[in-house]
């Protein structure tokens, strides 16, 4: 039987260690979403606009939630967020920003650019159990 709608998550994260922790936490949790991992802002925009390697819309569907690292090489996380919020077809996708930074300016920019949520990685990835709980909660509620 075909699966009913899955929860698709796009994870934009350049640090492999963090991406693997997030992936593992989501696999451990109850949501068990389908996770698509891209490494930088340009690849994220390729995914969202179905460009380059992501042209197949069935294989790479519009995500239900985006988890976005703030500090990315090239196009920054905030720029990706701003682009998503400018685009009629994408602006309703909830974006939660994950960052190591607790600097005021970063947090303000995420907020002003329309992030649905913001979580410090220090809290979200403190340990396996916390990672699972916080990520489930932010994906569900954020």
């Amino acid at each position: 039987m075909a699966k009913e709608k899955e929860l698709n998550i796009l994870l934009v994260e350049d640090t492999e260690e963090h991406a693997l922790l997030i992936k593992r936490a989501l696999e451990d949790g109850m949501l068990k979403p389908r996770l698509f991992w891209v490494h930088d802002g340009e690849e994220a925009l390729d995914f969202l606009y179905h460009r380059a390697d992501y042209a197949d819309e069935r294989e790479y569907p519009r995500p239900d939630v985006i988890l976005l690292d703030l500090r990315l090489p090239g196009i920054s996380g905030v720029e990706v967020l701003e682009q998503i919020k400018k685009e009629e077809k994408l602006k309703d996708i909830p974006v939660t920003v994950l960052t190591v930074s607790d600097e005021d300016e970063d947090i303000l920019r995420c907020y002003q650019a329309g992030a649905r949520g913001h979580v410090l990685k220090s809290a979200a990835l403190a340990d396996r159990a916390s990672a699972q709980g916080i990520l489930d909660a932010i994906v569900l509620l954020g």
């Binding site: 410090l120 979200a124 709980g133 909660a137 569900l140």
Partner: protein, 124 residues
Amino acid sequence: MEALKVLIGDGSSFMRIMLTSALDSLGLKVVATAKDGQEVAEKYSEFKPNIVLLDLAIADVNDFAAMRAIGHDNPSAAIILMIPEKMDMADVIVDAVRAGAKGYMRKPISPSELKARIGSALRR
């Protein structure tokens, strides 16, 4: 793995019930709910939850007393602030993080959206 313990602080009994139900469905254990800041601090001290979901409306934005009390108890406490989507709370967010919030999520969190998301998760 032992279920993760969550404390929900929200002035609305409807939200407390809805969030409790949603998080229980996910296998998280809502160990306590609280209707105001003082109760949040008391329940934190009593139950030592892993995660605190705290509504901005009861977070005492002038001094974030409840968050500071929790932070005094456990500086790494995972306090996630729930903030009204339609209000410009930019100035408050920065103060909240300084006071110990580890993140925020915007409200509203609609019952229908929650139901759809949990449904998607549990059908798999």
